[in-house]
C-alpha cells in the first residue's frame, strides 16, 4: 500500500510539474544571437575601450550586427581578428598597428628640476602643484602615472625616470594618453618613425638650461625637409601624410630633439651633441 501511494504521489507530481515546465518553457524563453557570446569569447576580454566601444561585449554586438569590423580591436592578435572575421564571414578590416609615443626625452640625466615636489606620488598630483617642479614646464614628470594606467604592462620607467613604451606589448588602447597630465602621449601608426621628442614651447639657449635635449626651435629640420616639416609655435611638426620615411630632418638637429625611432632605440643625428651630464641630478638651483 505504501509502495502504491509513493508511486502515485511521485507520478502525480511529475505530471503536474511537467505541465508547469512546458508552459514556462513556451512563455518565458529568451532569444539572443548566440554569435555575440561566441565573438565575445574570441575577444581578449581586456575591456580597454581601444575599439571605441565601452567594452568587449558591446564591441562583439557591434561586430555581429556589422557596425564595426573585427580589425578595430587592436588588442587581439592577427590570428584572433582573422578568427572572428572567419567565424562571422566578414572582412577583417585590417588596420596598421598603432602604438603610444612619448613627446619628451627629458629624463633626469638631461633635464633639471626647479623645485622638489613633495606629496602624493603621482604625475596628476604633482602637475597641480606649480606644474610639478620640473624646469621644463611641458616635460615628463616621471612619476609613472602612465605606467600604472597601462593594463598591458607595456610602459616601464627607465633609470632616468622616463617612460619607455614596449611597442610589442602596446595595443594603442589610449589609457596613457588620458593619464598623462602633460599630454605627452599620442597614438601613432608604427611606421611613423620620424619623431619630435619634445613639447616645449620655449626656445633658444634659455630652454637648454632646463633640458639639454629639448627643441630650441632653430628650424634646421624644417629647412632640410621643406613641406614635410613645418615650424608651428616653437616646435617642428611632421606632416605624416607626406613621405616621411627619410632621416634627412634629424641630420642637423643640434640637440637631438628630432629622432628616428629604430626598433632598437631612438637614433639621433650626427650633429646632436653628446649628453655630458650622466648622473641623476634631481635638484639644481632655481
Amino acid at each position: 500500500m505504501l509502495f502504491l501511494t509513493a508511486v502515485a504521489a511521485i507520478g502525480g507530481l511529475a505530471v503536474v510539474l511537467a505541465t508547469l515546465l512546458a508552459v514556462a518553457n513556451r512563455k518565458l524563453a529568451v532569444q539572443e544571437d548566440p554569435r555575440i557570446d561566441a565573438v565575445e569569447d574570441m575577444l581578449p576580454h581586456a575591456n580597454c575601450g581601444a575599439c571605441g566601444f565601452p567594452g568587449c561585449r558591446p564591441f562583439a554586438e557591434a561586430v555581429v550586427t556589422g557596425v564595426a569590423k573585427p580589425g578595430k580591436c587592436s588588442v587581439s592578435s592577427d590570428a584572433g581578428r582573422a578568427a572572428i572575421a572567419n567565424y562571422l564571414g566578414v572582412d577583417v578590416g585590417a588596420e596598421e598597428k598603432r602604438v603610444a609615443r612619448l613627446a619628451c626625452a627629458g629624463g633626469s640625466n638631461v633635464a633639471r628640476d626647479h623645485a622638489r615636489y613633495q606629496g602624493l606620488e603621482s604625475c596628476a598630483a604633482a602637475a597641480l602643484v606649480a606644474g610639478g617642479g620640473k624646469g621644463c614646464f611641458w616635460g615628463c614628470l616621471g612619476l609613472a602615472d602612465c605606467a600604472r594606467a597601462c593594463t598591458f604592462d607595456a610602459i616601464h620607467m627607465n633609470e632616468h625616470g622616463l617612460p619607455v613604451v614596449d611597442e610589442a606589448k602596446c595595443t594603442a588602447c589610449g589609457d596613457c594618453v588620458v593619464a598623462c597630465p602633460k599630454d605627452l602621449f599620442s597614438l601613432h601608426t608604427i611606421s611613423h618613425r620620424l619623431w619630435v621628442a619634445c613639447k616645449s614651447q620655449a626656445a633658444g639657449d634659455g630652454m637648454l638650461e632646463d633640458c639639454q635635449v629639448g627643441c630650441t626651435a632653430c628650424g634646421r629640420c624644417a629647412m632640410d625637409a621643406p613641406g614635410l616639416i613645418t615650424m608651428q609655435g616653437n616646435l617642428p611638426v611632421v606632416d605624416y601624410t607626406k613621405n616621411h620615411q627619410t632621416r634627412t630632418p634629424i641630420q642637423r638637429c643640434p640637440t637631438g630633439a628630432i629622432v628616428w625611432l629604430d626598433p632598437d632605440g631612438p637614433q639621433k643625428g650626427p650633429a646632436a651633441k653628446k649628453i655630458i651630464r650622466k648622473g641623476v641630478r634631481r635638484d639644481a638651483p632655481t
Binding site: 623645485a115 598630483a125 602637475a127 597641480l128 602643484v129 606649480a130 606644474g131 617642479g133 620655449a202 632655481t286
Partner: protein, 448 residues
C-alpha cells in the same frame, strides 16, 4: 542690524594660528622697481589680455599696454616707465609658461603715473562704471583674481540687496587688507558708491574679523554722512573670508550648491579691490601696483609693501632679505596659497602675500608620516560646507573620482584646506580632491 554682534558666524571651520602680529603694525611701504618688470597677459580668471605694445616701444607708468579680450578679460597697465624689452613666455604660478610683457625701467624717470579721464560716481551710469572698472584692470585682489566688472554685472532677472565688503582676511600671516583699511579708509569709502551705483544695491556692509578692531574703528569713522554703509565685526574663524562663508555669517543665507552669491541677493567684493576702485576711477588710472604682505619666518624685513605688478619673486626676496635655510615659498596664505617652483614668477594682481617658510616650519609638515584614516571625524567638524572629507579621501585614494562627485558633492569643495589642517593622520585630503576635481572636469569635457 547691529554692527557689533559677535554671534554672527558660520558653522564649522578651524582656528589656525593667526601669525599676524609680525606685520599688522607695519605701515605699507613702497617697493623699488626690479631690473625688469614681467607683466603677464593673464593675471585673472578668463581670457588673457591682448598686448598693445611692440618690442622696443617706450611706455609710461600706468599706461595701458594690453586691452581686454572680450568680457571675461581686463586691461593691463605698465607698472613702470621704461621700454618694452620683449614679449615672451614667462613662468606663471599655474605651472605653465604664459606670454608676458618684459619692461626695463628708465633709471632717470620720475615715474609719475599716467592719469586719464576721471569718472564721478554721482553722474556716471552703471554701464560706464563697469566699463571703467574693466579698463582699470580691476580684478578680485583677495586672491581669486576674478574680473570685478564681471562679478558686478547682475544677470537679467536677478537682484541683489546687500553688498558685502570683505575685510575678513582670515588667512594666517596676511595683513594687506588690514593695512589698506587703516591707511586707505577714504579710498574704500570712495569706492563703495561706485559699486552701489553699478549694481543698484541699497546698502553695503564692511565685514571685519574681531582681530582687527582698529581697522573696524577706522572704517566706522571714515563713513561719510549719507552713505548707507555699516561696519560689522565677526568672530575670528577660518575660512570666514570665503565668499559663501561670509554671506552665511552676515546674512544667514546659504548660496545654493553650484550657484553664485547673486542667487541669494548678495555680492561680495574684497576691501582692497574696493579701495583700488575708489582710488583709480576718479583719476582714470589703471592698476599698476598692489599691496602685499611679505612674511613668514623665512623673510628678514617682513612687512606690507606696495609692489609694482610684474616684480619677479627673486628680486622681491633678495631686496627684503631671506633666511639661509628657506625651503618653501608660496603666494597667498598658508591655508590656500600656491607653492612656487620658480622665483622667476612675477607678482600679479592676485598675489595677496609672499610667504617664505624655513626648514623649521616645513619640517613639522613634511616629517609627519601619513597614517591610515582613523575616522576621528575632525574633518567633518572642520569642513565649512559640511562635506565628508574622510569618505572623499578614501574614494580619492582608490581613484573613484566620479563617485566622489556624484554621491559626495566633491564639486562643492572650494579647497579651503580646513580638513587637511586638522587631519591627525596627515592625509593630503585637499590634494586628493584637486586631482579628483580635475579628473571629473576632464571626463565631463571629454563626454561633450
Amino acid at each position: 542690524m547691529s554692527t557689533s554682534g559677535h554671534d554672527r558666524t558660520f558653522a564649522h571651520g578651524v582656528h589656525p594660528p593667526e601669525c599676524k602680529d609680525n606685520t599688522a603694525a607695519l605701515p605699507i611701504r613702497q617697493f623699488p622697481f626690479a631690473p625688469v618688470q614681467v607683466v603677464p597677459l593673464l593675471q585673472h580668471l578668463g581670457k588673457p589680455a591682448i598686448a598693445e605694445v611692440q618690442e622696443g616701444q617706450e611706455v609710461t607708468r600706468g599706461q595701458r599696454i594690453a586691452r581686454p579680450d572680450g568680457f571675461m578679460s581686463v586691461a593691463m597697465h605698465a607698472p613702470v616707465t621704461g621700454v618694452v624689452e620683449r614679449i615672451a613666455l614667462a613662468p606663471a604660478i599655474s605651472g605653465r609658461m604664459e606670454p608676458a610683457i618684459f619692461i626695463r625701467p628708465f633709471p632717470g624717470s620720475t615715474q609719475e603715473p599716467l592719469q586719464g579721464a576721471p569718472l564721478d560716481a554721482g553722474t556716471a551710469t552703471p554701464a560706464q562704471i563697469l566699463s571703467a572698472i574693466q579698463e582699470a584692470g580691476v580684478v578680485g585682489l583677495g586672491g581669486a583674481a576674478f574680473p570685478t566688472h564681471a562679478k558686478l554685472k547682475i544677470p537679467d532677472g536677478k537682484r541683489a540687496d546687500t553688498l558685502l565688503i570683505n575685510g575678513a582676511e582670515c588667512e594666517p600671516y596676511l595683513t594687506t587688507d588690514h593695512r589698506v583699511m587703516l591707511e586707505h579708509a577714504a579710498d574704500v569709502m570712495a569706492g563703495i558708491p561706485f559699486l552701489l551705483k553699478a549694481t543698484g544695491v541699497g546698502r553695503a556692509i564692511v565685514c571685519i574679523e574681531a582681530n582687527k578692531q582698529d581697522a573696524a574703528a577706522t572704517m566706522r569713522q571714515a563713513i561719510p554722512p549719507g552713505l548707507p554703509v555699516e561696519v560689522a565685526v565677526l568672530p575670528v574663524k577660518y575660512p570666514q573670508g570665503a565668499e559663501k562663508m561670509l554671506i552665511t555669517a552676515m546674512l544667514g543665507r546659504e548660496v545654493p550648491s553650484g550657484g553664485l552669491p547673486i542667487d541669494v541677493g548678495a555680492l561680495c567684493v574684497n576691501v582692497a579691490t574696493t579701495a583700488e576702485i575708489g582710488h583709480l576711477l576718479p583719476r582714470g588710472a589703471g592698476i599698476h601696483e598692489r599691496v602685499l604682505t611679505l612674511g613668514g619666518p623665512g623673510i628678514v624685513k617682513k612687512g606690507n609693501y606696495r609692489v609694482p605688478i610684474g616684480t619677479p619673486l627673486r628680486f622681491l626676496l633678495e631686496t627684503v632679505g631671506f633666511e639661509r635655510d628657506i625651503t618653501r615659498v608660496f603666494l597667498g596664505g598658508p591655508m590656500m596659497g600656491n607653492a612656487v617652483s620658480s622665483l622667476d614668477i612675477p607678482v600679479t594682481k592676485g598675489t595677496t602675500a609672499v610667504i617664505a617658510f624655513t626648514a623649521r616650519q616645513t619640517g613639522n609638515v613634511e616629517q609627519q608620516r601619513e597614517y591610515p584614516c582613523i575616522r576621528c571625524g575632525y574633518c567633518l567638524d572642520a569642513c565649512p560646507i559640511f562635506l565628508n572629507p574622510s569618505m572623499l579621501g578614501l574614494l580619492g585614494k582608490n581613484g573613484e573620482h566620479q563617485r566622489m562627485a556624484d554621491e559626495f558633492h566633491l564639486m562643492d569643495c572650494f579647497e579651503c584646506g580646513s580638513c587637511t589642517f586638522v587631519c591627525p593622520a596627515h592625509i593630503p585630503l585637499v590634494q586628493h580632491f584637486r586631482i579628483a576635481k580635475r579628473a571629473v572636469r576632464k571626463a565631463k569635457a571629454a563626454a561633450k
